[in-house]
């Protein structure tokens, strides 16, 4: 039996098609995945992401612990509320998970990790935290609603008392803060502006309903996937995983090499790979003709070498197929993708494909 979020009844009432996702019964769409996708790009949509795992970290050595645990460096966070995206690596330099950490104070952080990796993440973190004076607490009492789109912040703020609305609208990009009974963060996974809101399980259904009344459309995990793909954001388990180096998953930018003496887990193997010319590249592809790019399709380079699509789909915004792919370093601007035995032309593009509602490809 799958687990249900505090918003399960809201999904059923809204006519959701429910599917199993990492052991949770989640809405894939509420009628049309493509319409929901456009709604987020043009106005405002919301996702129940309560299956994701919220962890609070507290203690005098919380910061030291995270500087060991994460490939990105929380010492970069100077302002209270600022968030950081990071990978958590194995000692061999593979990606255990990607996560967001919010800096609340020198002794307090809030971390959000993926639902599909919940058990291994918590086990790994608990093992590593043993030698630090800090404690990790799972916040399963909280639900999470992502409100995304050009009008998302205004619509959410319209539900708050004046002083709280002002605080919410003044949040900087990639900042989160407790505002009244809600933790509101200006983060997301769609390439649009918006909030991710943590709310007590008891109040989640009420907030969801108020958002519906404010004109925010329930949006399923199906649209969440096409939105994040257009936004060039990796998905754990398909674009990156434990036996893949972050340097071969387009995540170089998330690794804090400086200061050189910060000994984060996985650093040694990454240092050995760093600067190597033969590493695979992580690139964006656009299919020239008709068809749909999918994960695991073969990418054929002009020199005959082969790579693989890690995630692909039809892009509702661009009205053509797009993909992320891991390919040999000899990658050229023109490649072919094998779809059901046929070799179809595709071209390499810079990611993201779409940002703030607009196409970024030529």
């Amino acid at each position: 039996m799958s687990q249900r979020t505090a918003l399960y009844e809201q999904h059923i009432q809204a006519g959701a098609k429910m599917v199993d996702f990492a052991g949770w019964d989640m809405p894939i769409h509420y009628g049309s995945q493509i319409e929901e996708h456009h709604q987020v790009r043009k106005d405002a949509g919301m996702f129940d992401v309560s299956h994701m795992v919220i962890l609070d970290l507290e203690g005098p050595q919380a910061r030291d612990f995270l500087r060991k645990l994460l490939a990105n460096d929380v010492a970069r966070l100077k302002d209270a509320g600022k968030a950081l995206y990071s990978c958590m690596l194995t000692p061999e330099g593979g990606v255990i998970d990607d996560l967001i950490v919010y800096f609340l104070s020198d002794t307090q952080y809030r971390i959000v990790v993926n639902a599909g990796t919940r058990e291994k993440d918590i086990a790994w973190m608990q093992e590593q935290i043993q030698s630090f004076d800090a404690q990790l607490t799972e916040r399963s009492d909280l639900s999470m609603i992502a409100v995304q789109g050009p009008n998302a912040r205004e619509k959410m703020a319209s539900l708050l008392p004046d002083t709280e609305a002002k605080e919410a609208l003044e949040l900087g990009v990639f900042f989160g803060q407790q505002i009244g009974s809600l933790f509101i963060a200006r983060t997301g996974y769609t390439g649009e502006d918006g909030f991710e809101i943590m709310v007590s399980n008891d109040e989640a259904a009420q907030l969801w309903q108020w958002l519906v009344d404010a004109g925010v459309a329930p949006t399923g995990l199906g649209a969440r996937d096409t939105l994040r793909l257009e936004a060039g954001m990796n998905l754990y388990g398909t674009d990156m995983e434990e036996n893949i180096s972050p340097l071969e998953a387009g995540l170089n930018w998330t690794i804090a090499w400086e200061p050189e003496d910060r000994d984060f887990i996985g650093r040694g193997p990454l240092e050995a790979q760093r600067g190597r010319e033969d590493l695979h590249r992580f690139v964006g592809l656009v299919l020239e003709g008709r068809g749909v790019l999918r994960g695991h399709q073969k990418v054929i380079l002009p020199d005959g070498s082969e790579g693989e699509i890690t995630s692909g789909s039809f892009s509702p915004t661009l009205n053509q197929a797009i993909a992320m792919a891991r390919v040999p370093a000899s990658i050229a601007d023109r490649v072919e993708v094998e779809i059901r035995g046929k070799h179809l032309p595709a071209r390499r593009v810079k990611m993201p494909f779409v940002r703030n509602g607009k196409s970024l490809i030529d």
């Binding site: 769409h29 199906g222 749909v292």
Partner: protein, 129 residues
């Protein structure tokens, strides 16, 4: 429950078959099938002139999420495909039994039609899912 016209024949794999009365049939996927697949974004039709055996995967419909094979309900030659689906694959969603038809076959053996499911039998198949 989705719509299941009584003048058509069906397969267990959710194709519908319309007898055109001239030795040819028109094939598509059922309303139930399109509902399960979600928004379609690409239809790969078979090549005209190809000969297919009953049960052959001969066309593909792709939704945002996944690709699904469409099987030949009976043996014969592909004589026509729905060119409108190239630009408007969503016709399969909006009108599965009409404008969303996928291809036509000239039947090798017209008796094969009688072996397909009728509406009542198909309703039972769809209800099981």
């Amino acid at each position: 429950m989705s719509n299941i016209p009584t003048d058509l024949r069906y397969t267990n794999s959710h194709e519908w078959v319309r007898d055109n009365g001239d030795g040819t049939v028109t094939v598509g996927i059922t309303d139930h099938a399109q509902e399960q697949l979600g928004d379609l974004v690409f239809v790969e039709t078979p090549e005209i002139g190809n000969t297919v055996e009953a049960g052959d995967a001969c066309a593909v419909v792709e939704s945002v999420k996944a690709a699904s094979d469409i099987y030949a309900p009976l043996s014969g030659e592909i004589i026509e495909t729905n060119a409108a689906l190239t630009d408007e694959p969503e016709l399969v969603n909006s009108d599965a039994f009409g404008e969303g038809w996928i291809y036509q076959i000239r039947m090798e053996d017209e008796d094969a039609l009688t072996q397909l499911l009728d509406a009542e039998a198909y309703e039972a198949v769809a209800a099981e899912e």
